[in-house]
Point group: C4
Chain length 229, copies 4
């Protein structure tokens, strides 16, 4: 193969590989059931988990590099069977630098009932700017899942979508941001589920949701600086 790797590609392999440990740590995945990918900044190169490999056995050099159509450019293993869905997102949402897919239990439980997750806690307003929306039922093996993700998330504040009867997809400016969205999506899916088990949670007024979202996106955390990772 004529692919020539670069420092940026190798760096992305390390990041994508290591972020899978966060999926395990926060209880989002079972066996080999979730995957992370990242776009090498400024390129059309995607780095993604190989298919069916245990999280314990992941190493940066096992990551698969493809183009936006899924053609394997680097790597000896087949990419995640969800690669096509990731690629459709990268093709149609050029601002996206990372995609995560999981079947995390609480978020998937909402998806199996085809219910969006309502925004009844301030942490949801902060991170998702409102409900976590529901995408359509779609089978793997075509661009249907990817299209469903894009059509649901375009024009929506939420970086997470729950796909009916399936699981969660999240996007971010880079793979770490997409992982954070996946972690927080499961966290709020769980809290709202638990709350609703014993009655109806109190809605947060839309005006408050708007102000919380605006503040969190623009003020929270450390301001970017040369020190930031």
């Amino acid at each position: 193969m004529s692919f020539k790797t670069t420092a940026a590609v190798e760096e992305m392999k390390v990041k994508v590989c290591n972020l899978h440990a966060e999926l395990l740590r926060w209880g989002l995945v079972t066996w080999t059931s979730g995957n992370v990918s990242g776009r090498v900044p400024g390129t059309d190169l995607i780095v993604i988990k190989p298919s069916g490999v245990s999280y314990d056995d992941l190493k940066p050099e096992l990551m698969v590099v493809t183009d936006l159509e899924g053609k394997i450019l680097d790597g000896e293993l087949a990419p995640s069977s969800d690669a096509e869905s990731h690629n459709v997102v990268y093709q149609r949402m050029p601002e996206v630098g990372g995609v995560v897919h999981t079947h995390s239990p609480y978020a998937t439980a909402w998806a199996a009932r085809a219910e969006p997750i309502p925004c009844v806690i301030t942490a949801m307003a902060d991170e998702f700017g409102g409900e976590i929306p529901l995408g359509p039922f779609a089978r793997i093996g075509s661009d249907a899942i990817g299209k469903g993700i894009v059509e649901t998330l375009q024009g929506h504040r939420s970086p997470a979508v729950i796909m009916q009867n399936h699981g969660v997809f999240t996007i971010g400016k880079d793979p770490k941001a997409a992982v954070k969205a996946a972690v927080m999506a499961e966290d709020v899916a769980r809290t709202v589920h638990i709350s609703r088990q014993l009655g109806e949670p109190v809605p947060i007024p839309q005006a408050d949701i708007d102000k919380l979202y605006d503040r969190y996106q623009n003020v929270y955390g450390q301001q970017p600086s040369p020190k930031e990772q």
Copy 2:
């Protein structure tokens, strides 16, 4: 004892022993409540956990080797009290190379209500090809449990059965596949339980289940190669 061990037997002791760590890791077992066995390929030799030994204390040399009737051929300890049930499966299902038994909490909760687990998430369609079926109530101490497992699983796509008021048995081509089925059975038992707590999950049409199952069994993961373990 006149039993002569072989490299294949010793290898299977290591595999069976180590796979118990996966039962612990994924929350399937408590104290000493689950067990793994494997058939030494091409033989009628079964390797199984000793009875009542803590997972912390398991070592390959403590594994028990029996024939298909449960006669101890190698090992100083008594085999798992579930050995008879494992053996009936190996006798009647020659294609089975691994058996796992657990009381994992969500799957056992369905079993206590005598309800099969409905197929409402795509991960279930992939792994189980439909619902996880219910086997009969049967007491330990005869071949009744083994027969119930075999009669439920023969002609069924699912490698997992929940036995009424009891727990889960899974089968696979080798012990690792049976462990994977046990891990995924608990994972989907939990997600479907959580989903149904707040309403009725949306069924997946049978035609979609069939296509998902076919694809996952034939396309997913890395294709077998000399590298595969």
Copy 3:
């Protein structure tokens, strides 16, 4: 103080100390909320956790030795505030060699509703020989809790009792057996809870419970041998 320790006392300090790690590992305790004690075999000496000490900081030499009336014989710290309840059990049940107390969440949830845990899974029949019974509401600071435990467990198969609005006490021939009973009590409390969330579990006929209990108590595990710990 004129107390002279013995090898048996020091051995019991190590056992009691280390068994607290099992309470943590199986999710039975939070902060400092559970305790283990043991009777030094053939004596009226009780070894128990000191009060309010973090599990991380426990060391065998911090264990407290008392007589059956709770008089401190050895140790610089105050014994667990539950010591009086343990002691009443040791006084009135000479066959008991270990006592455990926890507020494990699922078992305590049944206790807060003042409901015994029904026997609907075979693992309960094995370990508890039927339901886990409910003891009375009693306040700490007298022998009322201890009396409630003894009156509930005497003549009952179960080594575990849930005390109304409070938590779990378990007994055993030694501290390890009492810890096992506490771990299994929470395990079955959880599974039966989950099962009942979506409907009514199927009861196990009494005759089957009796046979399962008899078999488990008399056949399960390795037969005692010099090797057994």
Copy 4:
């Protein structure tokens, strides 16, 4: 900056930093969603977690020192975005030496329904002296949250308040006591939730709550001594 640190300030940085590990260990926080602060004894100096920094990356030297108005005196990072709420508590409750904020799932689930957590287990009577009260809905970005905390907790036995649609704030004589309150608040929020899922828990009579609270606050644990940390 003209701030001169002291041994007491540096010691508080170590304590505040390390206590975040307890939030993780007991499952109270996800990603970066909780924070601990402490008042340097005898001063108006507050030590608090920096904003948006992963728990893995926390080191004592990253802690931020502010005055009671939130002016940064020491530290290169921005303080937690919840610092203003902490500060209002320190200003108005001079007896408070530690404050903790989390979105722990069970407690936050009660908060999303705007329901105080009823006192139906003795551990709650011990720690909280009754129910865990509900504070008002308030948006971050002013002193509204801090005021809501103070107005709810002043004159109340409970060191924990659940803020509507938001999460938990706890106070203590020092940061460790506030962390203990946060850990126990989630523990009892979970047990009471689980109990109520299958029916109505039995209330504890007020006179018993009073006696349990009095005993626990005055008798439990080791009496203060030079050895106590």
